[in-house]
């Protein structure tokens, strides 16, 4: 198993193989499965992501039980149809996909965690936009997920991916780095450029705290995935242009871990600090749980 991003990039470069192929080979060895078994499991994950993106953008959209989130992927869809957006349609398509997925998640629908449920919109946000933009075929989309997963495993094993241990930087930050690295491969970039894209994307989101209103994976989680997707595309483009992060990807992951460990628990998915502790955030929590909490006590 590759322990560092440097090892992963070296393996792909020296073997002259795509990162996705390196990941598939590792998975076959680690889980004792055939190429077809590993490939078809990833196809199933892709199908779940496609369904969530579609469901969140259709009709009136989806709404969570609390009413805190929902319907905004559809708002973005209509806006894209009727206006010339400021950021451009590529970015907004990714944002719409990301928000659609996380709205389905908040509504307790079926999603694929990438790497977590709270950050499940970032990767599909980028992927289903690139499908149109780069005319990716089915196989290229499956490869995108293997490449993203290869980087995600290294982050998860060397640092963390849970908001409760590392804040949102560990969730949306990791997802954004994974998406940036995979986008580079999909666009024909080198493994080295994938690592640079990850390093830039994750560096840009270091320090992001996990402060969900009422402890729910809704506010601000849904929209942070919009930023995760947009940030991934910007980082991937910078890497493809030849820009570098200067601080190597593995060291950025190390910095993320150290920052996560230093975050107070109020900013690690307890719903006690940050936006959750604002007057409006507290009011929302009382409205949702006030009655239920009385019953429990």
């Amino acid at each position: 198993m590759y322990q560092t991003i440097a090892e992963l990039v070296t393996a792909a470069t020296t073997q002259q193989r795509r990162l996705s192929d390196v990941m598939i080979a590792q998975e076959m060895a680690a889980t004792n499965q055939t190429y077809d078994e590993v490939w078809s499991t990833m196809e199933r994950q892709l199908a779940v992501m496609a369904d969530a993106v579609k469901r969140g953008s259709e009709g009136e959209g989806v709404y969570s039980q609390t009413g805190l989130t929902g319907g905004e992927a559809v708002k973005l869809k209509h806006y894209r149809e009727q206006h010339q957006s400021l950021a451009g349609d590529t970015i907004l398509a990714a944002v719409q996909n990301a928000i659609a997925t996380n709205e389905v998640n908040a509504a307790m629908g079926v999603i694929c965690a990438t790497p977590t449920a709270g950050s499940s919109g970032t990767l599909p946000g980028v992927l289903f936009m690139l499908k149109e933009r780069l005319d990716l075929d089915h196989n290229a989309m499956v490869r995108f997920l293997f490449t993203a997963g290869a980087f995600g495993m290294i982050i998860a094993n060397n640092a963390m991916i849970a908001g409760a241990t590392g804040g949102c930087q560990a969730e949306v930050g990791s997802a954004s780095g994974m998406a940036a690295a995979a986008a580079v491969e999909a666009a024909g970039g080198t493994p080295e450029q994938s690592a640079e894209a990850l390093a830039m994307a994750l560096s840009n989101l270091l320090g992001l705290v996990c402060d969900p209103i009422a402890g729910l994976v809704e506010l601000p989680c849904v929209k942070r995935n919009a930023v995760g997707a947009g940030n991934a595309l910007i980082a991937a483009d910078m890497a493809l242009a030849g820009c570098t992060n200067k601080i190597p990807a593995d060291e950025v992951v190390g910095a993320m871990k150290a920052i996560g460990e230093n975050l107070p628990s109020t900013l690690r998915e307890t719903g006690l600090g940050g936006l959750a502790a604002t007057p409006t955030g507290i009011k929302m929590k009382m409205k949702i749980f006030g009655k239920q909490m009385d019953l429990d006590s």
Binding site: M1, Q26, E27, A30, T31, N32, V38, T41, M42, R44, Q45, V48, S64, V104, N105, A106, A107, M108, G109, V110, I111, C112, A113, T114, P115, T116, A117, G118, S120, L145, F146, A148, G149, A150, G152, M153, A156, N157, M160, I161, A162, G163, A164, E171, M178, P212, A214, G215, L216, V217, E218, S265, R268, E269, T270, G271, L272, F289, Q292, M293
Partner: protein, 217 residues
Amino acid sequence: MSANYKSVFDIIGPVMIGPSSSHTAGAVAIGQAARQVFHEPVLGIEVHYYESFAQTHLGHGTDYAIISGVLGFDPADARVPEAVTIARQQGIQVHFIEETGVSPVGHPNTAIVQLKNAKRQIRLTGCSIGGGTIEVRQVQFDGFNIKPPGSLPLVLARMTPSLATQFVQRLGQFTGINHRHQYTAGTQTLFEYSLNQRLRVTEQRQLQQLVPDLIYL
């Protein structure tokens, strides 16, 4: 040192019902682990939550997620949100306790699950470390108090030390073993093995034929 995330599908996955992989899908996995250890009809479930779990279990659906696991549901099962009601309809007593102290095993997403019926009781301490992946830090049953390093997969085999030699040989053909420990309770011995990779169903069956009293988490 062993990696907690061993498969790409720990990262691109699991497929699950929202909203939180650590508080929902991971909680299902903790419930499933407790179910595997008990492997008998359950009459009572008591769940103790610590830190982030204690603060946010209501909003994340952690209650129904853990009960789903105890009932044997998959994280993507449509019955997951109804699991507490389903358990109570089956006559199972269900209690959730928010502990105010820090986690006894030092992880912010810790849950202790106790399962019981008229004859037996077990207690399992699980940590949800993110993305639906869990660690099992303590398992108490039938007089054993097992404290594994945490990372899964984990095999708990109740057998004589003489059989253990043969068992380890067979296990070693399937996977590397990261950690092993022997426990005794009265006249009984139990062996704990933390594995390098997941076992296939056929491999689990072969091991079970050798040692019938085997728990695979």
